[in-house]
């Protein structure tokens, strides 16, 4: 139903990992070096104890133990320190990569084209920046460091066994094909199940987000039981998939135990034969067996965290998938000749079939204020979005001062749309999104321009009052004023208001309309007008019907012409029971 956001292929995820590792070559090398030291330091005591076995068998005196004690204690101290350090270095490396990953994912998410995100839904994106980042975070802090040290230990242990006698090393290596067979049995079965599990978790998140954000409506219509039932159902599906995947994992574990048994049996039998031939000592065989046995836990750990690694891999694919999406690029920008806004023969269709705009051409002179009028569905919002550069025209061009809007320097055109949002945090920070680093005086001036300074000043902490989600609730009209204040602070040459004074329908109407007028002063302005009073106050009115311009001209002229606008105006006026004066 909704188009899902893309997921990266395994190859793309690996490419990302390799590129990250290349960028941090020094850090990676240091982490590996310390990890090797930790693994080596933990092998030394076993080797030393093997030596001790032979000295015992040779009937050596108690003094034989002294040198070995020293070796063992030193390696324990070095090993402990190196283990801690390598865990920290590995964790730090992972955390830094994770921070870069989440930042670039969010940055990409914020730059996604409007159409793409609306089609994919925000829940998917939110679960990526939420649950997926958490899954990787857990893997990075809990799984990756021990995994890393296990691999190093396994490699060094096999090397040490080979060092004692190559045949012992070979016997130990008997386990390897069993491990490989187990993995080849497991991986093709688990991959699809993990993908199903992820999808179920994403659906669960979407339901949770919608229920929480639409809580008022859920309550008003007594839908809490249904939403809870849906969350319960989605969560139960995810639970069942998790258990199902795990059952597979335990069967995989059985195959790993088989590998351990065959490896150990081969090693002991080979040792038995070699000792009988006199090729190795009992102590050496014992040391090899102990080294091998010691790998059981690290390798088992490796196996049993495999689901987390794979889940993290799936999450990584979902994040890298977002990162690789094409984003809207605003080139460095060509300076426009002036602030004339023009649409030339603009056409547009959302689905490629039904045209929403047909050959729309209009020109707004510098400082002029043009109102777009038309019934719902006439294409007003689409025309405004194209003028603002949010949508690319299907045909024709939108320009400011002769430069296509997509190539303008940042902040030349701004649009305030009907969707208001108060950003969570101190109010001053909400406004500073428009101009980072703006000083308090500028912020106050912008608020004063739109007539909001009075109520902001009256808030308990003034500009520092925490507003938005989790903070102080603002009224719809106040949220609109903040949107207009952001526009003032941004100070674009061309401003577009799309239903930005829709709230003028509610109480505080006059104030909001005045605020909008003040915010537009001195700018080239295109206003999508629902209230005809707003249109009447504009320099010129453009009437859209079914995606085409049907009339254009100043208010008085259009009223006199007796066309479509005149009829709209008559309908508007007839609502006034006393036939009150024009505004």
């Amino acid at each position: 139903m909704t188009a899902r956001l893309p997921v990266a292929t395994a190859r793309q995820s690996w490419d990302w990992l390799r590129a990250e590792a290349r960028d941090r070559r020094g850090e990676v090398a240091g982490t590996v070096a310390v990890g090797l030291l930790a693994a080596a330091a933990s092998i030394v005591p076993v080797w030393a104890l093997g030596l001790l076995v032979d000295r015992v068998r040779a009937g050596a005196g108690t003094s034989a133990i002294v040198g070995l004690i020293l070796v063992i204690v030193v390696s324990a101290l070095v090993g402990g320190g190196a283990t801690g350090l390598s865990t920290y270095l590995g964790g730090r490396l992972g955390a830094r990569m994770l921070a870069d990953l989440r930042e670039s994912t969010v940055a990409t998410a914020l730059r996604l084209p409007a159409l793409v995100l609306d089609r994919a839904g925000r829940g998917d994106l939110l679960s990526r920046v939420g649950a997926d980042i958490a899954a990787i975070g857990k893997a990075v802090s809990d799984v990756v460091p021990p995994l890393f040290s296990s691999v190093l230990l396994a490699v060094l242990s096999l090397a040490a066994m080979t060092g004692i006698d190559w045949r012992l090393g070979l016997a130990g290596a008997v386990a390897v094909p069993f491990y490989v067979a187990a993995l080849r049995w497991y991986l093709p079965r688990s991959g699809p199940r993990y993908a199903q599990e992820r999808a179920a978790v994403a659906e669960r998140s979407q339901l949770l987000v919608e229920s929480m954000q639409g809580l008022r409506t859920v309550h008003a219509y007594r839908l809490e039981d249904r939403h809870l039932r849906d969350v319960d159902g989605a969560s139960a599906r995810a639970r069942d998939l998790t258990v199902n995947v795990f059952a597979l994992l335990t069967r995989f574990g059985g195959r790993i135990n088989r590998a351990e048994f065959f490896g150990l049996a081969a090693l002991l039998t080979t040792g038995f034969l070699l000792v009988r031939e006199g090729a190795v000592t009992v102590g050496e065989t014992s040391a090899a067996a102990l080294l091998f046995h010691r790998l059981f836990n690290p390798v088992a750990m490796l196996v049993f965290t495999f689901d987390e690694v794979q889940a993290a891999g799936a999450s990584l694919a979902r994040l890298v998938g977002v990162q690789r999406m094409p984003v809207e690029q605003r080139a460095g920008g060509r300076r426009p000749a002036d602030s004339t806004l023009s649409l030339d023969e603009v056409g547009f269709s959302y689905d490629g079939v039904t045209p929403v705009l047909r050959d729309v051409s209009l020109r707004v002179a510098p400082g002029e204020r043009v109102a777009l009028v038309g019934s719902t569905g006439a294409g007003k919002t689409t025309a405004a979005s194209i003028a603002a550069g949010l949508l690319r025209p299907g045909s024709g061009t939108a320009r400011v001062g002769g430069v296509p809007v997509a190539e303008l320097p940042a902040h030349t055109v701004a649009i305030v749309s009907q969707e208001t949002h108060v950003f969570a945090g101190p109010l001053v920070e909400d406004l500073r999104l428009a101009r980072p680093g703006a000083d308090v005086a500028d912020v106050e001036a912008a608020l004063a321009t739109v007539g909001a300074w009075e109520w902001v000043h009256a808030l308990p902490d003034g500009l520092d009052t925490v507003v938005g989600e989790g903070g102080r609730d603002l009224t719809a009209a106040q949220a609109q004023q903040l949107a207009l204040a952001r526009l003032v602070l941004l100070d674009p040459a061309v401003a577009i208001l799309d239903e930005a004074t829709a709230e003028a329908g509610s109480a505080g109407a006059r104030a909001l309309e005045e605020a909008a007028a003040a915010a537009l002063r001195g700018r080239t302005a295109l206003v999508v007008a629902h209230r005809l009073t707003q249109a009447a106050a504009a320099d010129r009115i453009v009437v859209l019907e079914h995606g085409s311009i049907v009339e254009s001209g100043p208010h008085a002229e259009l009223v006199a012409a007796g066309g479509r606008y005149a009829r709209l105006w008559a309908a508007w006026e007839s609502r006034t029971p006393t036939g009150a004066d024009h505004p």
């Binding site: 001790l52 076995v53 402990g80 914020l110 929480m212 795990f246 335990t250 902040h411 305030v416 941004l490």
Partner: protein
């Protein structure tokens, strides 16, 4: 607060008791088998390798195979039981948190939407992991016990050394637990903050895009993400120092035992095979010791999450429990002397059958009135529904009698039909859609009523969302309906049609329905029976729209623009 997290953890254990105990027993058996393996290695060296006895080798390798078989099966079934318990517990916590958030009486909580998402997902999961930690702890203790008994049988001083030194090492390592817990909690809080911000920014993406503030937003997220990274690294430093100490101490312990055993072997008190068993066991013990050492960190993490879960599930309810159920027939709404926020003694009486317009000079008055009726709390004066104080009316019943459709309407993922006919009441669906001028929305989409609606209605325009929400409200046919600016995103002609539609649907002859529309739209007000004007939180004028328009200059300025 910290006690409630403990309660959540204790409950997780008791309510999963059967699976947890059976699973733990099987995992314990698995651990005992694991501990037996070094013993068998020593036996094989002693009985087969040293004397070169092939029969003994075959026999003992067979025993080894048997132990492996038991080990595999006990793990497979034990771990499955435990996983089922973990997944079930996480699911139940998630549903409990959701049920609390969705509770119709409203909850007092200081969590943001992003935080709540984290609590219901990551924190529920983290809490349930306790059911993983418990069997691991038990298994580690079993392994320790088996090894200790083996060592005691070989040599009493060796066994005692293990039994005394182990707890000592663990006690020493416990000292740092509170610091680790604090750092982990800080790490989680910062991560939650970053997640909240990401959610907030993505939610406000359209306004951000409109003013070209996406770079600034990305930069702000970067700042919070870096703070989260710093907290992660701080926690990582503390944990790695702890890991250094625990690894060093547990290795020294195991090696100390091995060295002691080596000395015993050199002096002929134990055999070479026994010496190898001691080394193997001591070496094997490093793992359970190591696990026991990291347990405080793991449990602290589960505990920090359980605290957050408890903060959500223990949050108090806002509204009192009502029991009264006034009749739905000819239900009236009466506010007397209500003080709530900017409302300063408001009187408003909506009689059965009446269509009342409310015009507020200050936006805050309108918001306060709507907010109060949606969630009647924190007010003075009386609010009566069907002649009964609204606090005493059963909440479910109250919402059947009084429906408040907020100005910012929410639609949900699904179809147009599912969004409008929320209670599957499709009989009068066409009628309600027509009255709200939403039939045109249905007609413009090829799939009609089955047209998919994207998350939060994002696939529809503001005007389309508004009309569908209005149709939903009309279809619900509540005895008292409160609408707040229902037509701000529709054009003038449609607005006029909607006003007539509401009137025709709810206020036909003999209708006992009451409707309140809070608006300054003349088209809607002209359709009402009576208009109430609010100024400075009280009623300042009252009359029909026509009379007020004729007689009251300030009213004309307010609505007739």
């Amino acid at each position: 607060m910290s006690r409630s997290g403990g309660r959540i953890l204790r409950r997780a254990i008791t309510r999963n008791g059967r699976r947890l105990s059976a699973g733990t027993a099987l995992v314990g058996l698995f651990q005992a088998c694991e501990a037996a393996i070094p013993v068998l290695i020593g036996v094989i060296v002693d009985r087969a390798v040293t004397p070169g006895d092939g029969t003994a080798l075959a026999l003992w390798i067979g025993v080894l195979g048997l132990v492996f078989a038991v080990l595999t099966l006990s793990y497979r079934f034990g771990a499955r039981l435990l996983m089922a318990a973990i997944a079930e517990e996480a699911h139940r916590l998630r549903v409990e948190v959701s049920a609390k958030i969705l509770h119709p009486r409203g909850v007092h909580t200081d969590f943001r939407a992003g935080d709540l998402l984290t609590v219901s997902t990551s924190d529920a999961d983290n809490t349930s992991y306790l059911l993983d930690y418990v069997p691991r702890i038990v298994g580690a203790l079993v392994a320790t016990a088996v090894s200790a008994v083996t060592l005691l049988l070989i040599s009493v001083p060796l066994g005692l050394a293990v039994l005394l030194a182990t707890p000592l090492v663990l006690i020493v390592l416990q000292i740092s637990a509170p610091l680790i817990r604090k750092r982990v909690a800080d790490e989680q809080e910062q991560a939650g903050r970053a997640a909240s911000l990401a959610v907030d920014l993505v939610t406000g993406l359209r306004p951000l895009r409109g003013i070209g503030a996406r770079e600034a937003a990305a930069e702000r997220y970067r700042g919070v993400s870096r703070r989260s990274l710093a907290a992660t690294l701080r926690a990582g430093r503390t944990q790695s120092i702890y890991l250094t100490a625990s690894t060093t101490l547990s290795t020294l312990l195991a090696c100390g035992i091995a060295i002691l055993a080596g000395w015993f072997a050199l002096t002929g008190r134990i055999t070479v095979g026994q010496f190898i068993t001691v080394i193997g066991s001591a070496q094997f013990l490093v793992e359970p010791f190591g696990l026991l050492a990291i347990v405080p960190g793991l449990v602290a993490e589960a505990r920090a999450s359980a605290d957050r879960v408890a903060r959500a599930t223990d949050a108090g309810l806002i509204l009192p429990r009502g029991t009264a159920a006034p009749a739905a027939e000819r239900c009236e709404l009466r506010l007397s002397g209500v003080r709530h926020g900017p409302l300063a003694g408001l009187d408003l009486h909506v009689r059965p059958g009446e269509f009342v317009g409310v015009v507020a000079r200050r936006a805050a008055d309108a918001e306060a009135l709507v907010g109060l009726l949606a969630l009647p709390t924190g007010y003075e004066g009386t609010v009566q529904l069907g002649g009964v104080p609204i606090d005493e009316v059963d909440r479910d019943h109250a919402r059947r009698l009084l429906l408040v459709e907020p100005h910012h309407c929410d639609l949900f993922t699904g179809t147009i039909a599912a969004n409008v006919a929320v209670h599957d009441d499709r009989d009068s669906l066409a009628e309600a859609l027509a009255a709200a001028a939403a039939d045109e929305v249905v007609d413009t989409h090829p799939d009609g009523l089955d047209t998919p609606v994207a998350e939060r209605g994002a696939s529809l325009s503001g005007g389309q969302r508004q009309r569908l929400a209005l149709a939903r409200a009309l279809l619900a046919r509540p005895p008292v309906l409160v609408l707040h600016d229902p037509t701000t995103a529709v054009d003038a002609v449609t607005e006029h049609a909607i006003a007539q539609g509401i009137r025709a649907l709810r206020h036909g002859p003999g209708s006992g329905f009451g409707t309140v529309v809070i608006t300054s739209s003349p088209a809607l007000l002209a359709a009402t029976d009576r208009v109430v004007v609010l100024g400075d939180g009280v009623v300042t004028a009252e009359g029909t729209h026509a009379d007020l328009g004729a007689a009251d200059d300030s009213y004309r300025r307010l609505v007739l623009r």
